[in-house]
Structure formats: structure tokens, C-alpha cells
């Protein structure tokens, strides 16, 4: 009888310990991947192109040769080549 009681307590203890261990292992812990996925799928974020947008104004207006090629035509004198005397 004493042996049976000891075995029963031992089994219950094993079951309890097993239950505690099992519960701790299945607790969900969000990892970095999950966070990234969660943010990426957030409906409030506008999808953007992976490639940075090129500002062609800057591309041209910082390139001396490109400007020379594109502004080679002599500008009209809008301020009066026919003017005479001190302005």
C-alpha cells in the first residue's frame, strides 16, 4: 500500500512537472521575422519601390557637360543689344 501511494505521488509529480514544462515551451514569443512581416503587411504603410527615385533635375543640373550640351544655343539678348548710352 505504501509503495502504491509513493508511485501515485511520483506519477502526479511527473505529470505536473511535465505539464509545466510543456506550457512554457509553447508560449509564443514574437521574433524579428514575425515583427518584420507584421509591419510589412500593415495596411497603413504605402508600398514603395525598392530602387531610390532619381531626381533628374539634379542629375542634369550638376553635370557641367550635360548642361553645356543642352544650353549651347546662344541666348537671345532680351535686354536690348540696340540700347545706347548709360542705363
Amino acid at each position: 500500500m505504501r509503495q502504491l501511494l509513493t508511485s501515485l505521488i511520483l506519477c502526479l509529480s511527473i505529470l505536473l512537472l511535465g505539464a509545466c514544462t510543456a506550457k512554457s515551451t509553447i508560449t509564443p514569443t514574437p521574433d524579428e521575422t514575425e515583427i518584420a512581416v507584421s509591419q510589412a503587411t500593415s495596411p497603413s504603410v504605402v508600398p514603395v519601390s525598392m530602387e531610390p527615385e532619381v531626381d533628374n533635375c539634379v542629375v542634369c543640373h550638376t553635370d557641367k557637360q550635360m548642361l553645356i550640351d543642352n544650353t549651347a544655343i546662344v541666348e537671345e539678348d532680351a535686354h536690348g543689344a540696340e540700347s545706347e548710352g548709360v542705363g
Binding site: N56, C57, K64, G80
Partner: protein
Amino acid sequence: MAPLEPWEKVIIGNEFFTDVHGTTTCAACHAGDSSTLDKEAAHADMIAAPDADPQRTCGNCHSEIVATSADSLHVSQAGYFQVLYSRSIPENHVALDEMFGNHCQSCHTTCGDCHIAQPDSVGGGLLDGHTYVKTPPMTRTCTACHGSRVGNEYMGKNEGYPGDVHFRQGRMNCVACHDGASMHNSEGNNHRYEGEQSPTCESCHVQVGRAADTIVQHQIHQDTLSCQVCHSITYTSCDSCHVAISETTGNPFFKTSATYSTFFIGRNTRQSVNRPYEYVPVRHIPVDPDNFDYYGENLLPNFNLLPNWAYATPHNIQRITPQNETCNACHGNAEIFLTADKVKPEELEANLDVIVENVPALIPEQPTEGNN
């Protein structure tokens, strides 16, 4: 100053992108299409001068300056309209406005005309690769417009006449006297000789005319003569600036009939509590009754209401001048006063209030100790 090459006018320097103004996109101010490298397409609907609407651009951060500068004389050019309209009648204002737009508007100043680019009147072009220049460079902005008279006088470019002592010895540039506050705010005045004088010589020369002033001539003449009467030298006058549109190119042009050196003391027709002087230097300005005949007949029917020998503040100040060397270099010296014989007969009526009828009499020689 040599004009900029076309590419130089529009190239952006790397420094611009480190400036706070360079942190936004080009299109945010200039519109256009930044997604294409095709010149025509990129520039379609582009706003070349976003500061034409300063409230939308510069005013976002510089709201106080933008609020007052809209009425500053540099922006409004009210001084020109005041004298044009005074010589005219309301029925002619439309024609005069058209004339002004074609020939004078290029001196209209936006924020960028001083702080980003050269003014249109000298062909435009970025000052420093689009970097915003807090203090406008004198020769590329100020004297680019104010060159033929003020600039040449100040820097001594009139042959035979030295530059202003403040430039020669002090290397002072325009903003040393004409500071940003006065450039951005004309205090509601519609002409540069209205309202309080700003700047004044006394702002720096604080002792002039006061009890501690050891120069007796300052005590005697302080409210009778403007400083320039004694301290400026020969300056430039012009005659008759006629304007028209070229039949061959369609571009506006002007022709002044004469430019010459003068120094004449006349009566002050702008006498006020701020400018109490009886005498001031006067400069012949190039306005004639028929200056604008291209735009209509008799556009200045009230020509004689204002003089064309005008109050002047020549920018060629010297401590010692021909007229202040001795008392009688000025007193009794009719040559330096604008007397009637020096005014064209057809301009006599317009200048009656300026003409000096009685030249101040000679001062009797003061006996010196050696003569006693």
C-alpha cells in the same frame, strides 16, 4: 562684369545639398517634371522663379521678412510709379504701365534676385551654384542694377575722380550702411527720399553737429546743407532716355542722348523734418516730356510738376572736396550752383524750385594773426 556662360547660370554646386534649402526636391519649389531627362518635357510648366510668390516659398520660414518686403521699394518700385504718375494723368497709366513692364521691370527685385541669382537686368544666373547667399555680393547684385551712377561713383570708376572714402579706405560694401532691415522694409514710404533717413551719416559719425564737434562748419551748416553738399564730388548726370521696342528683334531698348559729369548745388524740393536742408546736390535725370512717345502721345502732360534736376546723394564721399577747402570755394562761387543759365530753356519751368537765384555771398577775408 563678364556675363555668365549659359551653363554657368544654371549649374548647381554640391554645397547646395548641404544647405537646409537643398534638402527638399527641386520640384517642390520649381514644379516641372523630375522623372525625365528630356529637357523640354522636364521644363514644361516649370516655375523658374518660385520667389515670385514668396508667401508660398520663402515665406514658409521667413514669414516676417516676406511680410514687409512686399512693400519695400526694391520690390514694389513705388518710387518710380510716384514720379511717373505725378508727371502724368490717370488716363495714361495703362500705357505707362506697359512701358514700365517692358523697360523697367527687370530691376524688380525678388528674394532670389539678391540671395540666389544675379538680377535679370544683367542676364541672371545663379550666384553660387544655387547656394543661398545671406549677404548679397555687391558687384553681382547691388551695383548690377545701381551701377552706372552709384556703383561707378562709389568704386571710383569715373575717370579722374576717386572712389568713395568708405570704399577706398574702409572697403565697406553696400550692406555696411544699407542693412537687411532697411532693404526688407521701406516703412510704408513710396520714395527713397521719404520718411526717416536710413541710413544717415550720423549713424556712424555721431559727433557731427553736436556740442563736442570741433568742426565749426558742421555747427554752422548742419540743417542748411546735406552732408553731400560739402563732401561729395563730381558725379554723373544723364539726358533724355527714350525707350522703344526693336522692329527687328522685338526686344525693348533705350537710348540716352548724353551722359556727362556735373556737380551742382540746388535748392531742396523735398524739404521735410527728416531732410530740412535748404541746399542739396542735384543730378540731371534723363526724363523728357517725350521719353515714352513710343507708347503714346503726350504721356507726361504734367512734366513740369517735378524737376528733372533732382535731389541726389552721390556715393563718392570725400573728407576734403574742392568746395569745402575754404569758405569761399563755395560762397560766391556761382559755378557750383544750379543757376538759371545752366538749365535748358525748355526745362526752366520744371526746375524753378531747384534753381538758385542768389548764390551765397562771399565771406570777407578773416584777418589772421599774421595780418594784424
